[in-house]
């Protein structure tokens, strides 16, 4: 084990542990922007710098291994001053429109600027590159005037989805995230899984499906559930505002998202708004003379009960069949077969397992 001191506390960690991990294991919070536990290290944003006694420069804690006898300060005056400057540098090219930003309430840049009292940037004078929002795809809003070049989206695309649709284009002040030839996502290998939106620490990437209806600061709750589409069984969070689903977010804790660790596909992340469709059925319907009319539950269920009982009496139980659903829950499928067998007296029950 390696013994080091962090903020005056003696801590032991296994060899190879980074200073950032050592802090995390011991409940010491370090601000990070480019760091993501599931992605390879970039060490580029420098937000996680700490002071290591005896070293001439501040070190990036995410890429620096803890060493025997190290003495680390995580919020010393020098560290705080440096972080403020870094935030100012980032703000120099970050379009400040927090009041209309889809990420308001869940933006790390906003949080850290708030924490360190950084209101504006001394470095904004030369202006920032202009990147109009032009990608017409219906899923992902790409506002690169808010991008802080942390490259988490690039790494997520490469390492989680393995689509490799985007990368860094250009150098320095003019560096930008782009597809090959800087085109639209639809013309790239992008599969619109939105893993890039999941990892973006700011408002550069956001969901167009949730735009204007559910920014993080307005959400009442995030309900952890299982996706309704294919059989993979991905865990996702339904974002709810005023008893309405307004978006989907990821839970990236493997203990709660055991299959997908937050990763989703385009249907899981962007295909939830059917729930709110005005075409949803909202009342029982009975067909009279070829036309549907609304009915009460009592009327509809009594009618069905009578018809099914009559058919059973007239033709026997095997004149009835039930098609259950691979979209319904286990509990509902159990009741469907119980109803078919115990109430109707037939084994004519099946579902679309074959289709």
């Amino acid at each position: 084990m390696v013994t080091l001191t962090i903020n005056g506390r003696e801590i032991q960690v296994p060899p190879g542990t980074t200073i950032l991990e050592a802090c995390k294991m011991n409940g010491i919070e370090i601000p990070t922007l480019c760091h993501d536990e599931d992605l390879r290290l970039a060490g580029s944003c420098r937000m996680c710098i700490v002071e290591a006694k005896g070293r001439p420069l501040l070190v990036a804690s995410c890429v620096t291994p803890a060493e025997q006898g190290m003495e680390i300060e995580t919020e010393s005056p020098a560290v705080v001053e440096a972080r403020k400057v870094i935030l100012e540098l980032l703000l120099a090219r970050h379009k400040l429109e927090c009041h209309t930003c889809e990420k308001n309430g869940d933006c790390r840049l906003q949080d850290y600027c708030y924490k360190y009292g950084v209101k504006d940037s001394r470095f904004a004078e030369g202006g920032s590159p202009k990147y109009p929002i032009t990608d017409p795809n219906p899923f992902i809003e790409r506002d690169y005037e808010k991008c802080i070049m942390c490259t988490r989206c690039v790494r997520a695309c490469e390492e989680i989805t393995v689509a490799r649709a985007i990368n860094v284009q250009g150098r320095g002040h003019n560096a930008k995230i782009a597809t090959v030839f800087d085109g639209n996502l639809a013309d790239s290998p992008c599969v619109f899984c939105g893993q890039c939106v999941m990892v973006c620490p700011v408002g550069a990437l956001s969901s167009k499906v949730s735009a204007g209806i559910g920014r993080p600061s307005d959400i009442d709750k995030r309900v952890l559930t299982t996706c309704t589409y294919c059989g993979t069984g991905c865990t996702l969070e339904l974002n709810v505002k005023n008893n309405r689903v307004v978006g989907v977010s990821s839970n990236r804790d493997e203990e709660w998202s055991p299959v997908n660790k937050g990763a989703l596909c385009v249907k899981g992340r962007f295909g939830w708004d059917f729930v709110n469709s005005p075409e949803r059925l909202t009342a029982p319907l009975i067909k009279d003379n070829g036309e549907f009319r609304e009915a009460s539950w009592d009327e509809a269920l009594d009618y069905i009960a009578e018809k099914l009982a009559n058919i059973k009496t007239a033709y026997g139980p095997d004149a009835f069949a039930f098609f259950s659903s691979a979209r319904a829950t286990n509990e509902e499928n159990y009741l469907a077969q119980k109803f078919t067998r115990a109430v109707m007296g037939t084994n004519n029950i099946d579902h679309c397992a074959r289709l």
């Binding site: 795809n137 219906p138 899923f139 390492e159 989680i160 393995v162 599969v191 499906v209 952890l224 559930t225 299982t226 309704t228 589409y229 294919c230 059989g231 993979t232 069984g233 865990t235 339904l238 055991p258 299959v259 249907k267 962007f270 939830w272 708004d273 075409e279 949803r280 059925l281 009342a283 319907l285 067909k287 539950w297 269920l301 009594d302 009618y303 069905i304 009960a305 009982a309 058919i311 095997d318 009835f320 069949a321 098609f323 259950s324 659903s325 691979a326 979209r327 829950t329 286990n330 509902e332 159990y334 009741l335 469907a336 077969q337 067998r341 115990a342 004519n348 029950i349 679309c352 289709l355």
Partner: protein
């Protein structure tokens, strides 16, 4: 799946995909496979009539003719046996029927298999060696393998291959069907099948039937029921008089839609319970409004047998209700009280009657869920089956399987092979995805994929509207010219009611055991619209 999803990312050092377009139909599993191949250097074998995304990552890609899976798999086994690459110890200790299987496989030399499948013999040899020499080879398949008149044979061949090489019962191995719907595994586990109660306890067996009779307090029928496809046929013939459809859409999903429509019209009484007025619901006498997944509590069981919680986020719209409440209410009105106060109460009843779920309860399902079999409350669940080569029936049984051609083959009038499937952007009959604005905007209409050679021959341009016809009917849709498909094969999606692939498919070609329709092969003709 015999094994778990995570093993495809970490433990398998060879993955064989046959009849699964994983990155489109199980995208998150597809991501894990890609990761394993690119970053851990796992070997990848892909067999598919279409040059799917994952074929680009494969060490061997075999573009076999639709419906020739048995010949391909037998060809691989022939190589493995002749080159002595099989796992003799596993065969000896854990299986039976090897000699009979070997006899059948003998004539499927790579050259013979190549003649049937159209796959070069050297690719069959290469694939066989890769799979057999791997430390842990995982075989995954989906509907591309099963939706054939020989679907059961195809699956048996996969099992033969896995047992022959001892690729079962260890992490990273297994025979892994990737199931296409969120709770298709659970619906089967729960006995929503005509021949079994929960956990595959047979309705014709006295012991389980007595158990359920005692638990439910009623005498139960002792003969097998009808499969979905058979029930439609019986409705057509007038023997089925009443049908209750809960969350299914046979008017888009079933083969030969004209036939389905006649069957539904022929019913005396049709109830449809759904979240939308589906194509099927339009034929109903009564339509009941149900709650969506976001509006209820419960559990789903995924393709790796993991039972996970579904949690209510919002109230159902208007008077819509959870399916379990509706069925319970109806049963009670019919003189059989089913009064449950919660889905959890139903789950408690399920686990009493379902050995593989016996150790589960809602509290234990929080977080990671549990993978069945989980027979007791102190049991951790079972991420992979057949540990140490121990099978449910004792020894694993090899099945001698001969290649049988698909039911309907191309001829002069219908010279092409039509195969159907899904797009990444839509799900099944489109009831949900076509009402999800972004998905429907991105992929608003159906298409038929055709090879450049066929396009040239028929003078069809990319994007041009064409007529696709079979003996059952025809649809008009856009042509998509792609070099990912063989010259005499065309592919279309089945999500779109207005250009429904199942207008074209064959309701008469069913697997004799499973009753699954042959969606992946029928004879078709493509016409330019003048």
């Amino acid at each position: 799946m015999t094994n778990s999803i995570a093993e495809l990312e970490k433990d398998a050092d060879c993955i064989f995909l046959i009849g699964t377009n994983t990155t489109e139909n199980h995208p998150v599993i597809g991501m894990k496979i890609k990761k394993n191949v690119l970053y851990n250097k796992a070997k990848l074998i892909v067999a598919d009539p279409r040059n799917i995304d994952l074929a680009d990552y494969a060490d061997v890609y075999m573009q076999h003719k639709p419906g020739t899976d048995v010949a391909l798999l037998n060809g691989m086994m022939n190589v493995i046996i002749n080159e002595n690459l099989m796992d003799r110890e596993f065969i000896e200790n854990n299986t039976e029927g090897y000699e009979e299987m070997k006899q059948v496989v003998e004539k499927y030399t790579p050259e013979y298999a190549s003649q049937i499948t159209g796959v070069p013999a050297e690719d069959i040899i290469k694939a066989a060696r890769l799979y057999a020499k791997a430390d842990a080879a995982s075989l995954c398949y989906a509907m591309g393998l099963t939706q054939h008149s020989t679907g059961t044979d195809n699956v048996k061949s996969c099992c033969n291959l896995a047992m022959l090489t001892g690729n079962i019962g260890r992490p990273g191995t297994g025979v892994n069907p990737l199931r296409g719907q969120n709770n298709v595994q659970g619906a089967c586990d729960m006995g929503a099948l005509p021949v079994v109660f929960t956990a595959y306890q047979k309705v014709i067996d006295e012991a389980p039937r007595s158990k359920f009779e005692a638990a439910w307090g009623v005498k139960l029928p002792d003969k097998n029921g009808l499969t979905l496809t058979a029930a439609i046929n019986k409705a057509h013939e007038g023997e089925i008089k009443a049908l209750y459809v809960m969350g299914e859409n046979p008017m888009v999903s079933d083969p030969d839609l004209a036939h389905v429509e006649e069957a539904l019209q022929n019913l005396e009484f049709l109830v449809v319970q759904d979240i939308f007025l589906t194509e099927t619901a339009k034929f109903a006498d009564v339509v009941l409004p149900a709650a969506s997944f976001a509006e209820k509590e419960g559990t789903f069981t995924n393709t790796e047998r993991r039972v996970q919680r579904v949690r209510k986020a919002v109230d159902p719209p208007g008077q819509a209700r959870e399916d379990w409440k509706i069925i319970g209410d109806l049963a009670s009105r019919m003189g059989y009280p089913m009064k449950y106060s919660s889905s959890e109460e139903i789950f408690e009843e399920i686990r009493q009657l379902t050995p593989s779920y016996a150790g589960m309860n809602y509290k234990r399902l929080e977080g990671r869920g549990l993978v069945w079999p989980c027979p007791a409350e102190d049991h951790p669940g079972t991420p992979y089956l057949h540990k140490d080569g121990k099978f449910t029936r004792g020894k694993g049984l090899f099945s001698p399987v001969e290649f049988i051609a698909p039911a309907e083959n191309p001829d002069e009038e219908y010279p092409l092979i039509l195969t159907t499937g899904r797009s990444l952007y839509h799900y099944h009959t489109g009831t949900m995805t076509r009402r999800s604005a972004a998905l429907d905007k991105h992929v608003p209409e159906n298409w038929v994929e055709i090879s450049p050679v066929l396009a040239e021959k028929l003078k069809i341009a990319d994007g041009e509207r064409v007529k696709l016809a079979t003996r059952r009917g025809s649809i008009e849709l856009k042509a998509l010219v792609t070099d990912g498909i063989a010259e005499n094969v065309v592919f279309t999606l089945f999500h779109f009611a207005e250009a429904a692939a199942n207008t074209l498919t064959n309701a008469d070609a069913l697997d004799p055991v499973a009753g699954i329709p042959e969606y992946k092969v029928c004879a078709a003709r493509l016409e330019k619209i003048i």
